[in-house]
Symmetry: C2
């Protein structure tokens, strides 16, 4: 990989001393044991080193650390819950960068139920934000597998997706205001709590999804929603891939935006889940290559919702779109159906190594993409186990390739560049994206240049140059 | 006003000749009659001049015109339907700028119902986009008074709001992709049709709401939604201003996001409407100072919606929040209730001159803002008729001051700077915005500097500088 070489000079000892003084003794660590979990990513793909882990307790302390680093032209790598999948929060290997954890900025600063807003610091765990909203009888809809440990600052910096995007949008869409420490250590207070504000360029959009390369998000104002009173979960065995898209269209025609999740799951994923993970039920009697997991939710009386879904599923059965379906009759049954999906994430620990692709295409192109990409993968590597699953309602598929049962990990992983290129070229042919919700980080930094117009890469670089002229904000990531 | 002086040199005649050659004879006008409607804004507040109105027929022609202008360093002012309220589409007074109309870029390029997207050129009339969506059994939810003549490119460039923001968001939230002609005449093709794409900075956000100061939007991919099957319209007489916010909270608790509009209307507006405009009904029997116009909509069976609203209104009556309410029993009655609201916009032509403020505050602060701003206005100018109305569900109030019955227009308008400062300072005290949905243009360009952090203005200027270094894209507007 062609990672940009950061400055090779070591971090000056007087800078380290100044940072320590600025944050106080609770605000830094340099012992190997404390540093270790911060220096490797969740997927164990990137390892870095750093002379100092800084853990500021306030926005003012973050600003002071950045100001000191800017003066010394030493890079700063911000880190949240370190659950990212693209290596965006891991410092360089050569120890030339300060690692700045947002963990101690973990206060809920304000909640205004009537305005539908919550103001949180970057280090708040996503679950903590969800819970605070729930206590105010509101919903904060961002939800994803790492929600018990990821931090909201990281969610915003990577524009996280998850299981409720179909209705509520991506993390970006949930933000009304930001507080950001800029590359020169100044603080931009853009913590507006307004639904409408057309007083100039929407500066906050630059920092959302920028993975800390333009500034460090220290706090945010997030939108809250009415809490759903009714949730209905269904599972259907599909007779074909195009049937998935037709079923989605029919559910939305009947139930509109009450369709909050529409997940596509492959038979092979359920089989592997049942093999490796306890508690994975057989969701419906009929076995098919693909299944849909559907969730509807609404604040109002849900009678019409249930009867509408029942009618849509009955018609889909009659018309041959699906072979079988079940609608959960209890929360426990709904939980079991969702666990089938969660197991397909979980089994990654047990079913051998995998080559992952977090892609999106237009929703209407999902079946064609899937058919072409599976055929091409199997042709390139006979025996490869293709386990594509994910947020079909958003056109977002986690197109994961597992090693053939009779192949070792190393030779399989050596095929990664070729297999990834194959899959991503098919993504491009369908007008898709090679990173739908995981971001760029180090993993896709060079690759995006292959799939984006040159003028767009140039615009990104010019934005980076103007906001971070000395390239000290998380260098070597994204752009 | 401190409008930045554009270059005073006249537009070179060889540039004009080159532009004419580039766009062909249907692509330009220079006769006074053809130019006249393009040189004054809808509110007749700004008048400009130009040596040439260019009407390119394609993105390539727009790009060529901008390329020629960039080479000659002559400014270009893009114009859509010319329905803006802040003078953003009117060229300078000195004739130094080329006026570029997007009207001939008016094709619907594509519609993909299964993906929920429509690809439109900038010159499409908003109504044309709504109709095309409707024919595909989908909803394009942007809706505002000028929808029969405003163009979608202008809507996106001003991040338009309107009556459905509460549920569907602002224009910005409805965009998946853009095609933009940059300041050097290159075209950025960012026409993605994806719900999720995390491959770097979200460049399109810069051009949305930038009023043509960073580039010219020539086409866009817009989100479509399931078409509502049920709409319920209600009108309630409020016993107090805080009751409006409590009623909104209760409606959302019962009906969730089915609450698609929540408009606040003052008694004085209804009285003036009934005095000047035929067909304005008395919406409910009880007379109060303020009323709420509420619309619920949903794709599914609406039985639960109607019974939920009935129950919420009955409880609000019982609890003393409202004095009276009606729920429309027919589309005709719903239309009549909405016409009461439309008349409050319309009466601006008849009820004397007015000083307008398009402000927003947190929804929870609307009552306090209204009370303080009305008291301050009446104290500053006894007899002033305050007619505040608008999208209370978004915290967006059109806080309009009409001249006292016994005062002439000119002395009233001379009080504008003082009255506006008074109102906007109260907006600031409540954490609000001085331009919620209308934009900045020339009207608020200098004023935003009073209400935004200096660092934010500086960031805006740096963005402008890097994307338009010669300041030829709609100079003197926004920043």
């Amino acid at each position: 990989m062609n990672i940009q070489q950061p400055r090779v000079r070591p971090v000056p000892s007087d800078l380290i001393a100044a940072i320590k003084a600025a944050v106080g003794e609770k605000g830094w660590r340099e012992d190997a044991d404390a540093l270790a979990p911060h220096l490797i990513d969740w997927r164990r793909r990137y390892r870095g080193t750093t002379p100092l882990l800084v853990q500021p307790a306030s926005t003012a302390e973050v600003a002071e650390v950045v100001r000191l680093c800017a003066a010394a032209r030493v890079p700063v790598v911000p880190q949240g819950g370190n659950t990212g999948l693209c290596g965006g929060a891991i410092p360089a290997e050569d120890g030339s960068e300060i690692l700045l954890s947002l963990s101690r900025l973990n206060r809920i600063r304000d909640i205004d139920a009537a305005n539908g807003t919550i103001t949180v610091e970057a280090g708040c765990i996503l679950k903590q934000v969800q819970d605070a909203a729930s206590e105010a009888d509101r919903l904060f809809p961002l939800s994803l597998a790492a929600e018990g440990s990821c931090q909201i600052g990281g969610n915003l910096s990577t524009n996280a997706g998850g299981i409720a995007v179909l209705h509520y949008g991506n993390a970006r869409d949930l933000v009304l205001g930001l507080e950001v420490v800029l590359a020169d250590g100044r603080v931009w207070d853009g913590l507006r709590t307004l639904r409408k504000d057309n007083t100039g360029y929407d500066i906050k959009q630059l920092f959302l999804g920028a993975e800390g390369t333009l500034g460090i998000i220290t706090a945010a104002v997030l939108k809250l929603f009415p809490k759903p009173r009714v949730r209905i979960t269904a599972f259907a065995a599909l007779n074909s891939l195009p049937a998935a898209i037709e079923l989605l269209a029919r559910c939305r025609a009947t139930s509109g935006e009450a369709v909050t999740s529409f997940e596509l799951l492959p038979r092979i994923g359920i089989d592997l889940g049942r093999r490796y993970i306890a508690g994975v039920v057989e969701p419906v009697a009929e076995r098919r290559d693909y299944y849909a997991l559907i969730e509807l939710s609404a604040a109002a009386n849900g009678d019409g919702l249930r009867s509408g879904l029942d009618a849509a599923l009955a018609a889909a059965l009659e018309d041959g779109l699906i072979a079988d379906a079940t609608v959960a009759e209890s929360e426990e049954q709904a939980r079991r159906l969702w666990f089938v999906r969660e197991a397909i994430v979980e089994l990654q620990k047990f079913a051998g190594v995998s080559i992952k692709h977090d892609i999106s295409v237009p929703v209407s192109r999902v079946p064609a993409f899937m058919e072409e990409a599976i055929a091409a993968s199997v042709k390139a590597l006979p025996g490869v186990r293709v386990v594509p699953f994910g947020h079909a309602g958003d056109g977002n598929i986690h197109f994961n390739l597992y090693q053939p049962e009779d192949m070792d990990s190393d030779p399989f992983l050596r095929r990664q560049p070729e297999l990834t290129r194959l899959v991503h070229d098919i993504v491009r042919a369908h007008g898709g994206s090679i990173s739908a919700e995981h971001g760029v980080g180090r993993l896709r930094r060079d690759e995006i240049g292959l799939y984006k117009p040159a003028v767009e890469i140039e615009l990104m670089r010019r934005i980076k140059q103007v906001l971070d002229p000395d390239n000290i904000m998380n260098p070597g990531k994204v752009v």
